[in-house]
Symmetry: C2
Subunit: 112 residues, 2 copies
């Protein structure tokens, strides 16, 4: 089956693509920016910069970050971060379905 | 308003993105591969290679090509080429609508 890669370019010049979405999802599953970065083979600095970029582009925090404590700081998705993932995955799924149907049409065209 | 860029990666390794679709559309409007290439600032060789790539990926000609004659050869879309453009633009439009709605939701989230 086909795979899709979608990049969204926003008015202000901000961009949203598979990398940032994967990072948000990794923070959700791993519970911190550093663990998310490790999972994706990304430096903490790089992960932090991407999150700051998202915060700036969307004018609100995409994560809720807890600082310090015995376990070190953790992070979880803020509502805007959760909404971003949902939005992106919805666009991707719908585009995928359309694409799969369209490719089936093309195969039928070839079979005639 | 946001812009979207969608790349489709097919099973066989073939790829379909904005460049190839723009080329097909330019052949449709300009009437030949060479004129389409000129319009897009692309060499004839490059344009020809992209078209051959599409033919191979989809297992059928995306263009109907007329060879020679007084005016030189011309080209027009074959059914598969037309279908590819329609498919891609449909995916793009649907993704765009979803994205615009989603971004509006995010703005509302920020305004709260």
């Amino acid at each position: 089956m086909p795979r899709l890669s979608i990049k969204i370019s926003l008015d202000g010049g901000g961009k949203l693509g598979p990398g940032k979405i994967a990072l948000l999802e990794a923070v959700d599953s791993e519970g911190s920016i550093s663990a998310a970065g490790r999972k994706l083979g990304m430096s903490y600095r790089r992960a932090w910069d991407l999150i700051q970029d998202l915060n700036t582009v969307f004018g609100q925090p995409v994560l809720e970050v807890a600082i310090g404590g015995k376990q070190g700081g953790g992070a979880m998705l803020a509502p805007a971060g959760r909404r971003l993932i949902d939005l992106y995955r919805q666009i991707e799924t719908t585009a995928y379905d359309l694409c799969a149907d369209g490719l089936k049409d093309l195969e039928n065209l070839a079979a005639r």
